[in-house]
Amino acid sequence: MNTRFKTYLNTPTSAAPLAVFRIGFGVMMLLSIVRFWWHGWIKTLYVLPKFHFSYYGFEWIKPIGDYTYLIFALCGISAFLVAIGLKYRLAIITFFLSFTYIELMDKTAYLNHYYFISVLSFLMVFLPANAYFSVDNLLKKRTYTSIPKWTIDSIKLLVSIVYIYAGLAKLNSDWLFKAMPLRIWLPSKYDLPFVGVSFMQQEWVHYAMSWSGMLYDLCIPFLLFYKRTRWFAFALVVFFHVFTRVLFPIGMFPYIMIVTALIFFDANFHRRILSVIKILLKPLNINSQTWRAEVYHYTNRKIILPIIAVFFVFQMVFPFRYLLYPDELFWTEEGYRFSWRVMLMEKMGYTTFKIVDAETGHGFLVDNSDFLTPLQEKQMSFQPDFILEYAHYLGDHFKSQGHKNVQVFAESYVALNGRLSQPYINTTTDLYKEKESFRPKRWILPLHDEIKGF
């Protein structure tokens, strides 16, 4: 076993797939940043709001006013450098840091696929993605035709984890036996041409799409892995992601997943892609014939392999942390994020805050729109960690305004997956006294229902 594993670690493979992956990744990231900028979201999400919701432990990461644009610019430039493979290691480290910084600035904008990008770019820091077909080759007049096989396999493994965990998360009674939340989302797509008024309204369609979505997530890594089913699987990937793009406002994510799935194809396929790019680059008149062609070897493998191993153990264990919490995951969301739980809930809430003077008992309600943007208010209203953080912000604010003995109480109603709204937060808990931590939040009222499954 040990020797087989050692042999595996030394098995070489063509560097072409990783080069294509690097180019695809860099280009998609550059487009994402440009698109984000173009829509004006840097301003509406990071510059305009007075207050930002931080991740626990990362409170020091905040937007930096108008300089926030610089972070995005840095991120976009480094994505471009990754794509062309110029100063790759520096570029991918810069990309990972700037992108992760952006992600951590305000959790209002949390998306699983942003987390996926952070995690993937972290992995790429340790991969020789500039070994082949990069500007770095040109500068050093040296190219590597083969790289260790595990480097490409590590990307495949990460993608497989994402799909399989997303599939496991769909194994729950709401998704499978109530067709929720698709049963709410699909009928509202009545505008879609051809399928809107007929197809999307059918109950069996809601169930069929729930079940096939679950099957897709659980099976697609295996279908991509085996050569005989690969093209069929890729067709499914394209169909599935384009279809979800039509249905839901999920931005660049579908395209990123389609490009990512290319990594499963063999080297010949990637060489053909590269030869197309070569034709496009012909005017540049680059003569690579004279370059030295070598086999890529890690010089610091003893450090890098343990890092990669720990990284994957973390990726596999972390999503299961929800098991440590006693209450319903969808309701309390303790352990919900960073676990590939995608499109699983239709959740809405309405939360108001009362500032009370502990001594006199007198109090008043807060108008949330004085402090939060509509998006922040929407996200805050049904997520306990947002509610707590905002309660503290309000407490501090009114304390600094001269209010005495400040207590902050929340009245909250939340509706989950079509259930009637229920009281969410204990109205007698002074949230200003509660501290954020990884411990279960006792002031969340229980869901009067049970969701079985993962």
């Binding site: 998306l111 989302w185 007929s198 309204q201 069929a208 699983l344 239709e346 809405m348 998006l375 929407k378």
Partner: protein, 372 residues
């Protein structure tokens, strides 16, 4: 083995995704006509309400002009009477902040922002230098300004009439009063003309589920009005729900001292009628939020959401009916009844804003979202 797995999987997917032949029996198609909902709103509720208001506002203008021409007890009484009639009719319109009303930089800003800033009015009267089109005069015009000018200028009617006749600034008062009613008249005509010429069709035909479609905007405006215009402005703010102490001078119709309850009840009726799609002239009901909810919830167990909402409106009405006809007096006598009314109104906000919006799944295109 591999082939078998692939075969089973593709069969499952084909069955799941692509068969549309077996849908004819048992399945339901989207039978809910959102256009019909918008038509019912426009033709049977909104436009009739505007036309009714237009007539009453014209009457108000006439009686104010008569009062300005000859200020005496008779003309004052007539102006007050038409003021109240028009103000009640207005309660049916404030929620329609859509189309021209929105394009005018919020028509309701010019019609019903209270409490008025008395110093702005008095200053305008004194100097003659005021511009009702500027945002700083939002709280110095419309019905609340008329309330002040017709009821609040002096301690008694003789004193008020004197302000418009013998006072050294009488002309200033007359000019200000005339300017206010002319502004209301002009803006209202703009809005009505727009609805009855071009906007009606535009409104009815925009039934898609997008952030800018009239259906989605109307739902948002409706809820916003209920939460802000009705719940907060009429009851919550004066009852001190949002401040350290009650603010009895912030009630609607403060200077009149008799009508804040009547106006609130009228507004609640208007909200509930829109919810149920009840015609403005008559008792017929048509396609509405209620019928849409009932359509969407056909398979749901338990109580109907539309019933919960109607019950909650009814409960709120009972609570408001128990109040003094003058909310200021109620607040000073027993504010707990005011906050009880507020609580009843508040519970319906949750049903509307959370449960109804979730059922409609209104598109809000803030940014990318994957539903988590």
């Amino acid at each position: 083995m591999l082939k078998k797995i692939a075969l089973v999987f593709s069969l499952a997917l084909i069955v799941a995704c692509s068969s549309s032949d077996d849908s004819s029996q048992g399945g339901t198609t989207d039978t809910f006509d959102r256009s019909a909902l918008l038509k019912n709103l426009a033709d049977n509720i909104i436009i009739p309400a505007y036309q009714d208001f237009g007539i009453k506002l014209t009457n108000l203008k006439g009686s104010i002009n008569a009062f300005v021409a000859t200020p005496n007890q008779n003309t004052l009484d007539a102006a007050r009477k038409t003021w109240l009639t028009a103000y009640s009719a207005w309660q049916h319109l404030e929620m329609y902040n859509i189309g021209k009303a929105e394009a005018l930089n919020q028509y309701y800003y010019f019609m019903n922002i209270y409490p008025v800033t008395v110093s702005d009015i008095e200053n305008g009267v004194l100097t003659g230098a005021f511009d009702l089109n500027t945002p700083s005069y939002h709280d110095a015009q419309g019905f609340p300004a008329l309330d002040y000018l017709l009821y609040g200028l002096a301690a008694d009617d003789a004193g008020i009439i004197a302000k418009f006749s013998t006072d050294k600034n009488a002309q200033g008062y007359k000019d200000y009063l005339t300017a206010v009613i002319n502004q209301m008249d002009k803006l209202t005509k703009d809005v009505i003309t727009d609805w009855t010429t071009v906007y009606r069709d535009q409104f009815v035909n925009s039934s898609q589920n997008t952030a800018t479609s009239s259906l989605n905007k109307f739902v948002n405006d409706y809820i916003f009005y209920y939460e802000k215009g009705l719940r907060a402005n009429k009851i919550g703010i004066p009852a001190g729900v949002f401040s350290s102490t009650p603010l009895p001078n912030k009630v609607e119709g403060y200077y009149n001292q008799k009508v804040s309850k009547a106006l609130s009840l009228e507004a609640l009726n208007a909200v509930q009628n829109v919810f149920n799609g009840k015609s403005f002239n008559g008792s017929a009901t048509g396609a509405s939020f209620k019928t849409y909810l009932d359509y969407l919830e056909t398979n749901k167990e338990g109580e109907k959401l539309s019933m919960l909402i109607n019950n909650q409106f009814d409960l709120a009405r009972t609570k408001i009916q128990a109040l003094d006809s003058n909310f200021s007096a109620q607040i000073n006598a027993d504010n707990s009844k005011m906050t009880a009314a507020y609580d009843a109104l508040q519970r319906a906000v949750v049903y509307l804003k959370v449960d109804m919006v979730q059922a409609f799944n209104i598109s809000v295109d803030y940014i990318d979202a994957d539903g988590d």
